[in-house]
Amino acid sequence: MAFALTPERDRELTEILTRYPTKMAACIPALHLCQDQNGWISDEVVDWLAHRLDLPPAHVKGVVTFYTLFNQRPVGKHQLWVCRTLPCALRGAGDVLAHCEKRLGIKAGETTSDGKVTLRTAECLASCGTAPMVQVDRDYHENLTLERLDQILTALQEGLPLTVQTPRPTAGSAAAPVSARPQGSTATGGVPPRPASNPPPKLPSDPPAGRAPSSPPKDPKR
């Protein structure tokens, strides 16, 4: 079946092309657009994009096979990535993966028979401070507990909407110690609150270049 980007996505690609001095530089962003539409990068997609960007198909194919995130075969409706690298493993990534495999009845790398979920392991996803974690499609779910993981898996299996329970940084997200919030409301590993004895340093109101801040931060504990 012939492939072509939808007019809307094609306009986006045209806009992307304006950002770079060469057409080739749009290759990876364009492949993401194609994959968003098609789910995976088939040979038809490669041929179409090569033509669109004036590149040899072999170049596009080479790029596709280099990068982990480009699917070279069809995948499930949702992709569930379990980070398995050391910092997550130290905090239970092994249990997370085992639980996913048990509940979905598949091994990492496989897709459920109903085509809903593809389970994969990921290498470090830069969420070490909020481990263990999984990525579902575009969203990170961090500071996982078994209970939360079960909610995620149920939502995926039953096609329910899945909200990111780790609230993204908004009001007062650093107002309590990270440890007090197992669901981790500091989305990115959080900057824990400053001890009361250590008031935040004020930036000088009018600093001529080369002058130290007017109230340097105090040394809190020693």
Binding site: A126, S127, T188
Partner: protein
């Protein structure tokens, strides 16, 4: 010395703190860029930037100002600033906080950086998985454009500047600067031979500076305070390691997270004062100081620097946990500062299983271009597997040294060292545990990385 600061992180906890309004109100956002563009020449900016002693925050620790000074205009080609936000080093989770919570510091840093090196475009290379980070950066760019801080006449200056977010597609190697440039150009992310260095022929064959995202985000603060004053915030300013930076801690600590402190913090302060100590109050076994490629340190390691000229002499005889986290101090300890995000392992963690876990990572992420790295990373993993299933002989264990040493120095990029160094580090620091697997005293089925089952 523990000295928490909040220059970069002031807007972190605020409602809509990632918006331009909060950045301008709370952190005096874009004041530095305005002053730089309206009162300084590019050459002055580079001279001033050198005084900030910002050591590259991506792991190599190269002085940022010096890197900027390598940029010479090309007769026919434009220059580029490329920001490395391909955060993927296991144990590193700092850049993400900046992109999500303080994206405007990055944009402002890009404006100053571009001006200093004579570039009109900055590409921020963000790993594709970080969808929120990309969205926040794009939003910040849009806000800055609306205000006229980006575009044809930023701050009234007749000097155009633009910032573009570019995405990868899940390859750790693209955090290596030349590989990143290939990926930016739309190619396979295979590292390039150096020379030519990026400053001569980088992105699209043009002069290019590649800075880590946290490095560039620190630039506005440095210029706001005055670069020398910024540098002096550090307790190891005398070692040309200045300013403030983000420190992360993860693994077996009670309070994993990211903090902003003056440079010169010690691992003990990071683990116990900021990280809250170890889970279940266990004893500390080992710590990987700055991302998985930095060789592991044991809790009982002692600094051995009797030579008075040694950088480490002031800490001679003390625990490695009491050495300030600095580029030169940690290099002299036989490890590296890396990204300043420490991975903590408590007593009871199996070092051989940790080694094997990391070797899986390197096996998976080797780009395959150089034989020693492509094949060597596989060998290292296979020996790790054999150790765990009890079929590794002493000879094979000793082969680990040969394999690792034959990767080091024989590859195009530093990924080879990044694989071999932690392998040798684990073997050196935990030889007894490795041998216990050979003799059968330890068995893979008993090996644990966690302190208990997932709650």
């Amino acid at each position: 010395m523990l000295k928490q600061t909040n220059y970069l992180t002031k807007v972190y906890g605020l409602p809509e703190g990632f918006r331009l309004a909060a950045y301008e109100r709370e952190a005096r956002g874009y004041e530095a860029a305005r002053r730089v563009l309206t009162t300084m020449s590019p050459a002055d900016v580079v001279t001033e930037a050198k005084k900030a002693n910002i050591r590259g925050r991506g792991g190599a620790g190269f002085p940022m100002g010096v890197k900027w000074s390598f940029m010479k205009p090309h007769p026919t080609k434009p220059s580029y600033l490329v920001i490395n936000a391909d955060e993927g080093e296991p144990g590193t989770h700092k850049d993400r906080t900046l992109m999500e919570l303080n994206p405007h510091s990055v944009i402002e840093g890009c404006i100053i950086g571009c001006y200093a090196i004579g570039a009109h475009v900055a590409y921020i290379y963000v790993r594709d998985e970080l969808h929120l980070s990309k969205a926040r950066l794009w939003d910040a760019i849009k806000e800055a454009k609306q205000k006229g801080y980006l575009g044809k006449n930023p701050f009234g200056k007749d000097w155009a500047v633009d910032v573009v977010v570019h995405t990868g597609a899940g390859a750790y190697i693209c955090g290596e600067e030349t590989s990143l440039l290939n990926s930016l150009e739309g190619r396979r992310g295979e590292p390039r031979l150096k020379p030519p260095f990026p400053a001569q022929a980088g992105a699209f064959g043009a002069p290019t500076t590649v800075n880590n995202l946290e490095t560039i985000a620190a630039v506005p603060t440095a210029f706001l305070l005055g670069c020398e004053a910024f540098s002096k915030l550090s307790s190891i300013h005398n070692l040309n390691d200045g300013g403030v930076r983000l420190f992360g801690v993860n693994g077996h600590v009670k309070r994993p997270g990211v903090w902003e402190c003056a440079v010169g913090l010690t691992l003990r302060e990071l683990i116990y004062d900021l990280g809250g100590g170890l889970l279940d109050d266990k004893a500390l076994l080992a710590v990987i100081p700055g991302g998985s490629s930095t060789p592991v340190l044991r809790a009982d390691d002692i600094v051995d620097a009797p030579d008075e000229k040694s950088v480490l002499h002031p800490w001679h005889g003390k625990s490695v946990l009491d050495v300030p986290l600095g580029v030169d101090t940690f290099r002299n300890l036989g490890t590296m500062l890396g990204t300043c995000c420490a991975t903590v392992m408590a007593e009871g963690t199996d070092p051989v299983l940790a080694f094997q876990n990391l070797m899986q990572f390197y096996r998976h992420e080797s780009c395959g271009q150089c034989t020693p790295c492509r094949e060597g990373s596989g060998w290292l993993l296979r020996i790790g597997d054999k150790l765990l299933n009890g079929t590794c002989s002493l000879e094979e264990l000793n082969d680990l040294h040969d394999i690792a040493n034959n990767i080091m120095g024989n590859t195009i990029c530093a990924f080879g060292e990044g694989t071999a160094m932690p392998a040798l580090g684990f073997l050196k620091k935990f030889r007894k545990e490795f041998e216990a697997y050979v003799s059968g005293e330890r068995k893979g089925k008993d090996a644990r990385l966690t302190l208990g089952p997932l709650a």
